[in-house]
Symmetry: C2
Subunit: 344 residues, 2 copies
DNA sequence: GCAATCTTCTAGATCGTTCTAGTCCGCTGT
DNA sequence: ACAGCGGACTAGAACGATCTAGAAGATTGC
């Protein structure tokens, strides 16, 4: 377990000063081509790696991005992984801090600041814009758009995502399309109002069921739908549903499945996030997919811009992953089999 | 955006030297009670927080633990969250680095070393023991037991976990119990041999289906079982199955469910990890639960011991979360309904 | 031929801590 | 009375990098 090499070691090996080695390692101007190569060779032979701690301590710019994420937030894992190459490509390092039931956002943020992060990327922040902008470094709200001029943001265009889902269903022939919303969850309002706008464009009354971000919320919405089904005429019932996210969609599907509905023959369901869950064979949920690489690039760019004093608010277009929870509506299929078939 | 306070600021405010403030902040001996309180009051009024970078740079012991985890590894998220309080209780800070399809273990480890981590906790390492022990700091293998004397480890007692599952099934009245193994996945060998030992104790031939860690692997094992079912007499078929992990169990359940089997009437299934998946209402899988707090505490203790030159190898007992994928065997239920009922 | 300029390089200060090696002071024991 | 001791405190070096200011040598301008 030998000690790691320092700038001074490399300098001695190459026969130059420490300052010059620093210049070469940073790729800064001020070194001739030949010495540059000599220094790099010496560094390589000593297996030199700059010490992040010392670099952070001294330099005004630390080039370290702090990322606050949820340990099991939907889509967070894909995004975190995409952030590493995106940051590296722009000359940043990345350090992570997890938020969770036992560790809140401000605590996670503080520990990143102590490590010297010069900007923070907060994935789906749950603090207020005031609290975020009070931090002593620029903050980028990722996955949640922000209008606050003191913050930056990089998020998916939720209106476009809802539109993709609705247009997919319309293209399949669905005419009555409902939305199960996200309650008071982050992003719920944007998706709900986008849905309402689309329905209005079509001249229809928007059909929105109250929901939420969790499986349980989806199950509640499904029970509401079943109750409605017992009262209304089939022509008024939706044949396609866009659910707030995959978790809720899963609960929604579960209740309808045990009630005997056939998916997608009786009802087409679209989720949101294209999470691991949606891809399971057992679930196979058509879902709106957010683009992790584009979001990561936009987030890092926003951080870089914020460090130069400019605020950026980027919206990234989503795509749609079609699986087997959506299909053409089969008119009247429910009547032929009775309203509450007791599937077992 | 005012600059953050330093030791010197606190020292000036309290009318003492920087060194004494340092002593007080670290809780080190060498300060009288009255000045200690005066310094703490000054620090609080200035909202002083020690700068991790400078502290790391100067002190031999950095008290920083680096954690390498999988962005979507089963159980990793729970464990990561449990690590924060466990480390804090022992005077360590935690910093994370994600491993994933696009970022390998050694790269993740290197970035932690550059930040000054004095020991590494690697969750379910995929490098060889040689590679891990070649790192210049102590390494703790978490979730995977190690026999290598150069490493430490903190893992769940897989033999006990398999025993819990098997005994649960036996207690329900199951006599023929099978295992779907994890193929070449981490931990598969331990669980398979534990299962074989239990079967041998019972005087039975161990019934092991080749599987793997993924949903697809579980689906394959289920098809093997269905093929066997078409050939054998019912008395020879298993009524209970212990699957390598929850992901595989999910695929296993999916194929059997679409083939018309009733779970748990026809077959009881136990998973492993008690992941978020298992808890979904849609799945409701009985599963072996690993204890995140106990594992986190053992892992941090192992790191602390390793820093003192001692190696520790801890096994933590698991528990069983019983859900609705297991129940009493209903003798002959399959015969009365035919072998391949076409459920829909 | 001499000053001005550019390029290449270096010495030394600096970031905010911790650590080492003291100083100062009051107390004790003989 | 004086060495010895331990508790409270401090000055200044150190950690490993970056940054500022400036020196040495080559090149250019007039």
């Amino acid at each position: 377990m030998t000690k790691r090499a320092t700038l001074a070691d490399v300098a001695a090996a190459a026969g130059v000063s420490r300052a010059l080695v620093s210049i070469v390692m940073r790729g800064a101007p001020g070194a001739s081509k030949v010495t540059r190569e000599r220094v790099l060779a010496a560094a390589a032979s000593l297996d030199y790696r700059p010490d992040t701690r010392a670099r952070l301590l001294r330099s005004a710019r630390s080039h370290l991005l702090g990322v606050v994420f949820d340990v099991d937030g939907p889509f967070h894992s894909e995004l975190v992984e995409a952030l590493y190459p995106a940051a590296a490509a722009r000359g940043f390092d990345v350090t992570l801090s997890a938020r969770g039931p036992r560790r809140d956002e401000s605590e996670a943020a503080r520990s990143l600041l102590d490590l010297g992060a010069e900007a923070l990327l907060v994935l789906a922040p749950d603090s207020t814009p005031e609290a975020l902008s009070a931090l002593p470094v620029p903050v980028v709200s990722v996955l949640q758009p922000q209008s606050d001029p003191r913050l930056s943001s990089a998020a998916t265009d939720d209106a476009a995502g809802i539109a993709l889902a609705v247009e997919h269903l319309r293209g399949l022939g669905h005419r009555r399309i409902a939305h199960v919303d996200g309650g008071r969850a982050v992003g719920s309002e944007a998706r709900r109002s986008a849905f309402a706008r689309l329905a209005a464009d079509d001249g229809a009354e928007p059909l929105v069921f109250p929901g939420g971000p969790s499986e349980t919320d989806g199950m509640g919405a499904a029970r509401t739908l079943l109750a409605l089904q017992a009262l209304s005429s089939p022509a008024e019932l939706p044949t396609g549903v866009v659910v707030f996210n995959d978790d809720a969609a899963l609960g929604f599907l579960h209740v309808l499945g045990t009630a005997g509905l056939d998916i997608p023959a009786d009802l087409s369901v679209v989720g949101y996030d294209d999470s691991r869950l949606a891809a399971l064979a057992h679930v196979s949920l058509t879902s709106v997919r957010q683009d992790p690489d584009a979001l990561a690039a936009a987030a890092v760019d926003a951080a870089a811009a914020a460090l130069d004093g400019r605020r950026a608010h980027t919206l990234v277009p989503p795509s749609l992953t079609v699986r087997s929870s959506t299909g053409r509506p089969t008119a009247g299929s429910r009547e032929t089999r009775g309203r509450h078939p007791s599937g077992s």
